[in-house]
Amino acid sequence: MKQQCKAVALISGGLDSMLAVKVIQEQGIHVEGINFFTGFCVEGHTHAVRKKHQDKQKRNNALWVAAQLGIKLHIVDVVEEYKDILLNPAHGYGKNVNPCLDCKTFMVKKAVQWIKEHNFDFIITGEVVGQRPMSQRRETMPVVAKESGGNDLLVRPLSAKQLPETLPEREGWLDREKLYDFSGRTRKPQMALAAKFSFKDYAQPAGGCCMLTDENYAIKLQDMWHNRPSRDYELDDIIMLKMGRHFRLAPHLKLIIGREEGENRFMQGYKNQFMSVYPTSHPGALCVVDGEFKSDEERDQALALVARYSQGKNEPQVKLVIRQSTGEEQEYSICPMLPDDINKDWLI
C-alpha cells in the first residue's frame, strides 16, 4: 500500500489557498505550503515602515495561514528569477503591470521542481475557474498546467470538478466527489466553505497581495522603466517605489520625499547608495535623489521642493544639506517653493 500521499500547496496568504489546503487535508493527505517572494508582495514593507499602518497587524499572511492549517511553510526567494517573468512575459500584462499568467506558470513550475526534490506527490493551488481575468480563466488554467510542466499533477481543489481529472484523482489518492466545482467571480461559495471550516479573520487579498496589480505602483514602475536606460531593476528599486512621494523633475532626476518619520528613517538606510537632501534649520522630510542635478537651477528647484516639506515651509529661508552617497555634505539656504509653483505633472 502506498504511504501517505504528500502535496505541496501554493500559499498566497489569501482565503482560496487556505480552503484548498483544508479540502485536501480532509482527504488524509499530508500538505506543506510553499510561498514565493517576488519582491512585489504588499505586506511587510509598507506595514512595517508606515505609522499610518501601525494599527494593521504586522503579520505575514502566508505564515498566518500555515499556522491556522498546522502546516509547514517554505518561503522561497525568487526575486532574481522573477525579473525575467516581469520584464518579458510571454502572455503580456493584465490591467496594470501584472504578468499573472506567466507568474502563475512560473510558480507552478518552481513547485514541480520542489516536489521532485522533496519527494512529494502533487501540487495544489487555490485557483478558481473564472475568478480572475488573466490567469484564472477557463481557457488559461490548462495553459498554466501545461506550460509549467505541472500537467495532471496540478490539482485545483476548489474547481476540480470543472476541470479534467488529475492523476491523484485517477490513482484514487483523492476522491473527486469530495472536491468542488466553484467558478466565476462570486466569492459566496468560498465564504460558505470558510464558514463550514470555521475559518475567521482571513485575509482577502484577491490580487491585493501583489503590488503589480496596484495602479499607483504600476505608474511608478513604468515611470522608472521609461526614464532609465534599461528596464532591469534591483530589489531596492522596487522597494523604494513603495516609499514616499515621487516627483519626476526631469528624465534624469526623481526626488523621493518621505511622508512620515517611519519612511524617513527607512530611507536613511539608502544614504550610502543615493544622494540625499535633508533640512537642518527645521524638522522635515528626508529626500532621496534618484538621479543627478545637471544644473544649479535643478539643484535649487529640488532644494526648494524639499524645503516645502519641512516645518520651515512658510519661512523666508530654510537651510538644507545635500549629502552625496560618498558622505560629502554641503549646506544651502533656500526659499521654500510655494504650493502653486509645484508642477502637478511632477508627482507620479
Binding site: 511587510g44 512595517a48 503579520r59 505575514n60 505564515l63 509547514k72 511553510l73 518561503i75 526567494d77
Partner: protein, 83 residues
C-alpha cells in the same frame, strides 16, 4: 532537546531587510544547521518579531530569546529537525 551552549551560534544579519526576507534568511541558515544549533538573527524590521516566531512554531524550531535594543531586534532560535 537542548542547545549546545558551548557551540558558537550562527549569526544572521538581517538588518535593513524587510519581511519576509529576515524569515527567509533564518530559514536558509536553519537548513544548513543541525538539531541543537542556535541561530541569532539581528533584524530592524518590527515585523520580524511576529514572523520569525511564527515561522519557528510551524516548522518545529524554538525561539529561545527576543531582545530589542537600539532599534534592533535580536532573536535566538534553537534548531530542531527531529519531528
Amino acid at each position: 532537546m537542548s542547545a549546545d551552549q558551548h557551540k558558537e551560534p550562527y549569526y544572521v544579519d538581517a538588518r535593513r531587510l524587510l519581511c519576509p526576507l529576515p524569515v527567509i534568511r533564518v530559514q536558509d541558515a536553519v537548513v544548513k544547521l543541525n538539531t541543537g544549533d542556535r541561530v541569532v538573527v539581528i533584524s530592524t524590521d518590527p515585523g520580524a518579531k511576529a514572523d520569525i516566531p511564527a515561522w519557528c512554531r510551524i516548522n518545529g524550531h524554538e525561539v529561545l530569546d527576543i531582545v530589542e535594543q537600539d532599534n534592533e531586534i535580536i532573536i535566538t532560535v534553537l534548531v530542531n529537525h527531529e519531528q
